[in-house]
């Protein structure tokens, strides 16, 4: 079989997969009596059509960068970590415990400490399945899924019986102190101008305290942390000895073992890194947005990491781009619910289709493209 040129492999294969997933999604929309064109327009308008929309799109993107990187690191070690959801929930617990522990004087200190807390809790939740895989050969896919369910139950218990303040009805932790609030895009100088609330006279509105008003959006400084982590993951995987060992182990366990790479060590390190990244996602939603720990805080973002990693071809740059795509999909999907009353589960359908086409039917797309390229090549030969 002919080989595809490298640019086609990197750009065209994911693009065609995406188009196929989009086409099937359109059919699904048609079958439930909605217009795909109208739905797409609503999504673009709602997610990308305004600074306000971008404020939500980038907020989702931030979470998905973390979970996408988490899946990517595990994938490179040949491990399929489906436990990002549970690890993110535990990370959220870590964030909440750190934020509630003292009255933080400045958000930078709180951010550093909460990031550590999230990473440690997320990594700890990944450690047990990792150990069982490394030492006892328990299938990591099944154990990580089980740990998702266990994490959900654990958080229900903690929020109802332990962390809930006296006299509060809903199962949630107390509000975090003001010093632990991260600056959102409506508060960062330079960016916030985009969110200025204008009066009818074209002059920025002033609130009751005499300060200029800005529209609140959830996107916050965690985005920059996420981008930094993408660089860190790239550096670890491609610039260090450890990264080389992880990738070698993922390509061929037997060869890596023969070269003196310790499988238990690699499985543990890769999963701990993966869990830490998934946990860090919760800095974005728990600390940056909610300001307290709620039930099911990660809202499926851990699972979206799988689609993001596959779409991004397991490269940090690809992950960032794919996370942006899914951020668009999520914010757009929310708008679909508001404007066209399409249930938000539409997003899960698209997510499943993207995983199917980019992950499992990869070969189909590749064969299709190879045939098309072969056609062009034979035409060229015919002309010469």
């Amino acid at each position: 079989m002919d080989r595809l040129p490298r640019w086609a492999d990197v750009v065209l294969v994911p693009l065609v997969s995406l188009i196929l997933a989009g086409a099937i999604s359109a059919l699904v929309l048609l079958s439930i009596g909605q217009s795909p064109v109208e739905a797409f327009n609503v999504m673009v308008e709602g997610a990308l059509g305004s600074a306000y929309g971008w404020g939500y799109t980038l907020y989702y993107t931030t979470s998905f960068i973390f979970t996408g990187l988490a899946v990517t690191v595990a994938f490179h070690a040949g491990l399929f970590n489906i436990g990002g959801e549970g690890q993110a929930q535990l990370g959220a617990l870590g964030v909440a415990l750190v934020c509630l522990s003292l009255d933080w004087p400045h958000w930078t200190l709180a951010l550093a400490a909460a990031t550590m807390g999230a990473a440690i809790f997320g990594a700890a939740w990944a450690a047990v399945p990792a150990y069982l895989q490394a030492k006892r050969g328990s299938h990591i896919v099944i154990t990580t899924i089980m740990f998702n369910y266990i994490a959900a139950a654990l958080l229900v218990y903690l929020l109802v019986d332990v962390l809930r303040p006296d006299g509060q009805m809903d199962p949630a932790s107390a509000r975090f102190p003001a010093g632990a609030a991260l600056p959102t895009f409506s508060e960062i100088p330079g960016i916030r101008q985009l969110y200025a609330v204008m009066g009818p006279d074209g002059v920025q509105r002033i609130n009751s305290r005499g300060e200029p008003m800005y529209t609140g959006v959830p996107a916050n400084v965690t985005l920059f942390l996420a981008l930094a982590m993408a660089v860190v993951v790239w550096a670890i995987l491609w610039q260090t000895r450890l990264g080389y060992q992880i990738r070698a182990f993922g390509k061929s366990e037997a060869a890596a073992r023969y070269a003196g790479i310790n499988p238990v060590f690699i499985i543990m390190v890769a999963m701990l890194l993966s869990g830490a990244l998934a946990g860090m996602m919760s800095v974005n939603n728990v600390m940056g947005e909610a300001g307290r720990l709620l039930q099911n805080s990660s809202e499926g973002a851990g699972f979206i990491g799988i689609a993001v990693a596959l779409m991004g071809r397991n490269h940090p740059l690809g992950v960032v781009l794919a996370a942006l795509l899914f951020g668009f999909l999520y914010q757009g999907g929310a708008e679909l619910g508001l404007i066209l009353q399409i249930p938000p589960e539409m997003r899960i359908v698209v997510q499943g289709l993207v995983i199917l086409f980019t992950g499992a039917l990869d070969m189909m797309v590749r064969m299709l493209l190879t045939r098309i390229f072969g056609l062009f090549r034979s035409q060229k030969l015919g002309a010469a």
Binding site: L132, I145, M146, Y157, I306, E345, A360, L361, M363, M364
Partner: protein
């Protein structure tokens, strides 16, 4: 705990073990042929929604059952095409189909009924109703065994007995028929089967189709017998627990029955916090009981299974020519 409570527990054990058992046997056929299937969960969910919806619309549980099997077969076919024809990653395909099922069932149920992604409650002929086995009432007076027969063994819906009958049937098909021998061979050494002139692709598709039918039964049971209608995410991880049971049972039908009964018992315990409390003498938080089946799955996977050796060619696509 008195005898009556024990019988109640065993009764719910059997009811809750049934979908696990059907899904577990479904996974058994697929994995024995060398195709991993994480997507049992999604197939069950799709079948539950279709059977619930069709049973409500037609008023016939049998048409519902057919629709459930049909939906499950469609998902099985996609998994087959991805993992057999296009030699894709079987784990990823399964995960993708689970997401697809999770989303699309709610979308369709919402579009059809507009009740927040569930089907309307089923009643009468739209459900599989309990069957009283012969002599169950007249033998009730026999000490110990009489109530056991009446409470635990009798009084379930048809699909429970079908599931139990599937155990010896699966054993017989796998171990006593030519098809079963070939199916097992294709999971261990597809090249040998190919050399003998038997189609690897054909056998694997047959196995995946059997998986589809059994998952269809499991899903239809969930929506039309265990509960009266479909609700979002109603399978709640049962497909994954069935996989764990399959590993626990070392890919053998009869052992699968015991494994599923064990997991069914865990689920039955989770429904009776009062009983658990009375036995262990400590107040047990309800979320802990909810997590119990999943927790025990991990413990089982971690320790007590001894060495579970999966089919040798499991998860590897077969390439005819090198």
């Amino acid at each position: 705990m008195d005898y009556a409570t024990l019988l109640q527990l065993l009764d719910s054990t059997l009811r809750l073990a049934t979908p696990l058992l059907l899904a577990c046997l479904a996974g058994l056929f697929s994995e024995r042929s060398g195709i991993f299937d994480i997507g049992l969960e999604g197939k069950m969910l799709a079948a539950a929604m279709s059977s619930g919806a069709v049973a409500f619309l037609t008023g016939s549980v049998w048409l519902g059952l057919l629709a459930g099997i049909g939906a499950s077969l469609i998902f099985a076919a996609i998994h087959g095409i991805a993992s057999i024809t296009f030699r894709g990653n079987q784990l990823i395909s399964g995960v993708a189909l689970n997401f697809l099922a999770s989303g699309i069932t709610v979308l369709i149920a919402q579009a059809l009924f507009g009740q927040g992604g569930r089907t309307p409650p089923l009643e009468g002929a739209a459900r599989f109703n309990p069957i009283t086995l012969p002599f169950a009432e007249s033998l009730q007076g026999v000490p110990l065994l009489g109530p056991l027969y009446f409470e635990v063994i009798s009084g379930h819906s048809l699909l429970v007995y079908v599931a139990l009958a599937m155990v010896p049937l699966s054993w017989w098909v796998l171990n006593r028929t030519r098809f079963g021998l070939r199916l097992r061979a294709v999971g261990e050494n597809p090249a040998a089967v190919d050399t003998a002139g038997v189609s690897v692709v054909g056998l694997r598709f047959a196995a995946v189709a059997i998986t589809g039918v059994l998952c269809g039964l499991a899903g239809a049971y969930m929506a039309t017998a265990l509960q009266a209608g479909f609700g979002r995410e109603m399978t709640a991880g049962r497909g994954y627990i069935a996989l764990a049971a399959l590993i626990f049972a070392k890919w053998r039908p009869v052992a699968a029955l015991w494994a599923c009964l064990l997991f069914g018992f865990f689920q039955a315990l989770a429904l009776r916090p009062d009983v658990v409390q009375a036995v262990v003498q400590v107040k047990v938080p309800v979320p802990f009981l909810d997590a119990l089946p999943y927790l025990l799955t991990v413990i089982v996977l971690a320790g007590f299974i001894g060495k579970a050796i999966p089919p040798r060619a499991g998860g590897e696509p077969y390439v005819k020519e090198r």
